[in-house]
């Protein structure tokens, strides 16, 4: 079954796995972003393990939903979700950003099967998703298209060109998600370049805006359901999140936007999450098949 529809408890557990993956792969690569991947882990898990109809075993499945991360820099969470969902073996995460691996610093269609369109330059993704949604509607394909954006990214003008376009064409098969963690690389979003009132801006562009606690799995499940039931306009999940969520010393600190933890910090983070760097790395190394990754087993 392409759609898994996990229980809330299973989703919470899987989101924890994803967070552990993020830390373990960053500890190995010693390059990449920590903050956004951790703030996106909960809604990402709800998307990949409950909401979306995806088929890692048949990437060109014509009935599949399409997803696109406009914030290409949060590859640690994208790849963790893909690995946990069975797009490729979890062990591959340990080659993140390495020359011999297939996991580029930013998503690359031709390196990582399952990525629909490469991304990495902010502001472009919602336009891409709009094209996917419009093309699918032209062909009569009952498909939803999901597009994850950042809050700092809202400063890009093209986001608003796309917002106008999707509403003009009443693309109700689009669901945007904004990781509203209020931090960007240079500091607090409101200090760098204010974007408030963000929900009102999107409503003003004729979108259906659904504000949720981006770490409340039940609220996210419900939010995506409301989006799916909304006809005649595109929907936006405005996910209020905390940068670095789940790691005490990273939470709400913009300095963790674009840097990885060192090995000691990673081990500490993983101990806060009930495991250790060695134990979780060993779990990744054991997962050598592309499949919905099994649980870590007792003692991890």
């Amino acid at each position: 079954m392409p759609r898994l529809e996990m229980t809330l408890q299973e989703l919470k557990e899987r989101a924890l796995f994803v967070r552990r993956d993020i830390i373990a792969l960053l500890a190995r690569s010693q390059s990449g972003h920590s903050g956004g991947p951790l703030s996106s882990a909960d809604f990402g898990t709800v998307l990949f393990f409950h909401e979306m109809n995806v088929n890692p075993g048949r990437l060109d499945d014509p009935s599949r939903d399409m997803w696109h991360f406009s914030i290409g820099h949060i590859t640690p969470v994208i790849y963790s979700l893909m690995g946990e969902r069975g797009y490729f073996p979890l062990v591959d995460l340990l080659q993140f950003r390495q020359f011999k691996g297939h996991l580029q610093g930013h998503p690359s269609k031709h390196d990582t099967p399952g990525i629909e369109v490469s991304s990495g330059s902010l502001g472009q993704g919602l336009s891409v998703a709009s094209g996917m949604a419009l093309g699918s509607r032209m062909d009569g394909i009952d498909r939803r298209v999901y597009c994850v954006m950042g809050d700092g990214e809202q400063q890009e003008g093209q986001v608003w060109e796309a917002a106008m376009f999707a509403a003009h064409y009443k693309l109700d098969n689009i669901c945007g998600v904004i990781d509203y963690n209020r931090k960007q690389i240079d500091g607090d979003v409101q200090d760098v370049m204010g974007i408030a009132p963000l929900a009102d801006k999107w409503r003003g562009f004729n979108w259906n805006v659904i504000e949720v606690d981006g770490h409340d799995v039940a609220a996210l499940v419900q939010g995506f359901e409301i989006a799916r039931a909304t006809k005649g306009k595109p929907s936006l999940i405005l996910a209020h999140t905390v940068m670095g969520k789940g790691v005490s010393f990273m939470e709400d600190d913009y300095k963790w936007h674009g840097v990885p933890p060192n090995r000691e910090q990673a081990d500490q983070a993983l101990r806060e999450m009930g495991t250790s760097l060695d134990a979780w790395t060993a779990r990744l190394e054991r997962c050598t098949k592309p499949e919905v990754a099994p649980g870590p087993g007792p003692g991890v």
Binding site: M66, H68, S108, K109, H110, E116, V117, S118, S119, G120, S121, G123, Q124, G125, S127, V128, A129, S130, G131, M132, A133, L134, G135, S136, M138, D139, I141, G157, Q158, E161, A162, M164, F165, H168
Partner: protein, 334 residues
């Protein structure tokens, strides 16, 4: 070279009437090419950024309204919407002025379209100084340099109405991104409906062994006029229509260098990074010969009539003749 079969030596097509040529707009060739495609392929869709009339995609819009997408004045969005449509299985053609298609949405072309290698077809209208009265902002003269520097992109500069029409149709069959550059004003028709057109394969339009003139776009006509003048001076010039700048037909270029010993390139584009540069890259790496580049020399355009601008910017047939004489003098001095 990617995907291009090396050519057998080819007979030149019939030489057009140079004295009083038929004049036709290349943008009309784009519009009619899209009409051809609309009938032939259901997966072709057309996007425009509020320029339906002046890019002639209005022909398609009238006939196939369900496959026509108005994007408004938002070229960056248009480039990426086209990418999304391609990812969903469509063959999208987008149309705007070349100045915007190549510069304003260059990042979108690079990252979303080319890096993903999606079959997005970019129609860049109003290319070159021949745009005329609109002036510098709308006279696109940097597209070749920009587009050919981006991996996976192909760059096509058809010479007339028929070639633009054929290039448009041919682009749809190529599973990679393409950029087609065409102009505003009527320009001489130098090919016909039967003239062959293959992306990446230059057309020999006049044979000769003393010197080769390699031209693209409207400069193919100017090159033919120049070749006629040179013949009167006892010089037999070969003229190659290099309609595809990338991938360049390196085989035809190197053959011209070997057999003619001197090359003039002619383009309605900035001298930096254009056709002349592409030809030089091929020549210097295999068979260096004297080369002269007829192009716009690092200047912005200005308002005026097509003919007076081309003369003022040094890209008319007499300029090609003078460049040929310089190249021949250098060849003799070797």
């Amino acid at each position: 070279m990617t995907g291009v079969t090396p050519a057998a030596p080819q007979a030149p097509a019939s030489v057009p009437s140079l004295g009083k040529p038929e004049m036709k707009r290349t943008r009309e060739g784009f519009g009619h090419g899209l009409l051809d495609l609309g009938q032939r392929r259901q997966d072709v869709v057309v996007l425009v950024g509020d320029l339906s009339g002046s890019t002639n995609v209005s022909f398609f819009a009238e006939k196939f309204p369900d496959r026509f997408i108005q994007v408004g004045v938002a070229e960056q969005n248009m480039m990426c919407v086209a990418a999304g449509l391609a990812a969903a299985g469509k063959i999208p053609f987008l149309a705007t002025y070349g100045a915007f298609a190549s510069c304003r949405s260059a990042d979108q072309m690079r990252v979303t379209v080319a890096y993903t290698d999606l079959p997005v077809k970019i129609g860049g209208a109003h290319g070159g100084i021949s745009v005329g009265p609109d002036g510098a902002t709308h006279q696109a003269m940097e597209e070749i340099a920009i587009v050919r520097s981006i991996p996976n992109m192909k760059m096509i500069v058809p010479c007339d109405y028929w070639e633009t029409r054929k290039a448009t149709v041919a682009a749809a069959d190529d599973p990679h991104p393409n950029y087609i550059r065409f102009g505003r004003e009527p320009v001489p028709v130098v090919t016909g409906p039967e003239t062959p057109f293959v992306i990446g394969k230059a057309n020999l339009v006049r044979d000769g062994g003393d010197l080769a003139i390699i031209a693209c776009g409207v400069m193919v006509y100017e090159a033919l006029v120049a070749a006629q003048e040179l013949e009167a001076r006892g010089v037999r010039a070969r003229v190659l229509n290099m309609h595809t700048i990338k991938p360049i037909d390196a085989e035809a270029v190197v053959r011209a260098a070997r057999e003619c010993g001197a090359i003039v390139t002619a383009e309605e584009h900035q001298v930096h990074g254009g056709l002349g540069g592409a030809v030089a890259e091929a020549v210097v790496q295999s068979h260096p010969v004297p080369m002269e580049l007829v192009a716009v020399h690092d200047r912005f355009g200005r308002s005026g009539k097509q003919e007076e601008l081309m003369a003022a910017f040094g890209i008319k047939a007499p300029d090609v003749v003078r460049a040929a004489e310089r190249a021949l003098a250098r060849k003799r001095a070797r």
